[in-house]
């Protein structure tokens, strides 16, 4: 059973546009949600994260919007750049346990110049 779902699986935007990647989860005990960015042949890099006590987290051009009631979150990438082209993974865990992150299947973002 996939505990973390991502949509769309792939997305293409033009340079300068806002890319929106969606994520939903099943387990109501999840309270920590990191997003990872992965380039081909590299390990994933932690991009931005949010805990369930917040409904928004911003870091530069990257913003997470979180809706606890609907168990949904989204990653917004404003002013998208070709260098943002990568696969983005949404993940979820119970904060503090540190033992298990459940990952979505990933979303491949392509930013066309």
């Amino acid at each position: 059973q996939q505990q973390v779902r991502q949509s769309p699986q792939s997305l293409t935007v033009w340079e300068g546009e806002t890319a929106i990647l969606n994520c939903s989860y099943e387990d109501s005990t999840f309270n920590y949600f990191p997003w990872y960015q992965q380039f081909p042949g590299e390990g994933p890099a932690l991009l931005i994260s949010i805990s369930s006590v917040s409904d928004k987290k911003e870091d530069g051009r990257f913003t997470i919007f979180f809706n606890k009631r609907e168990k949904k979150l989204s990653l917004h990438i404003t002013d998208s750049q070709p260098g943002d082209s990568a696969t983005y993974f949404c993940a979820a865990s119970q904060q503090g346990t540190g033992s298990k992150l459940s990952f979505g299947k990933g979303a491949k973002l392509t930013v066309s110049p």
Partner: protein, 113 residues
Amino acid sequence: AQTIHQWPVAEIKAVGSPLSLGCTIKGKSSPNLYWYWQATGGTLQQLFYSITVGQVESVVQLNLSASRPKDDQFILSTEKLLLSHSGFYLCAWSELGGVGEQYFGPGTRLTVL
């Protein structure tokens, strides 16, 4: 600053041969350590985690084993490789008792022929 090193960078092995992959964390004492497997274009599947030397928990059974012989070292191995073992192996660490953020190494690409 913490650094995570994985070796080898890539391996090409025959079905039925043994395997040993390594991971070393520098600049962090007593981290939680993790092994993940990623199929090409796929999601990240956690295989093992360890919170201390000598203790390893298995998350999924893939005919693989893991050991933590030192505080900063995590080893993944098998005596007999299967075709299905091909993929990208990633080591990660997190703070002991931390908020749950995991940091990934550069990965090892394994091809089983």
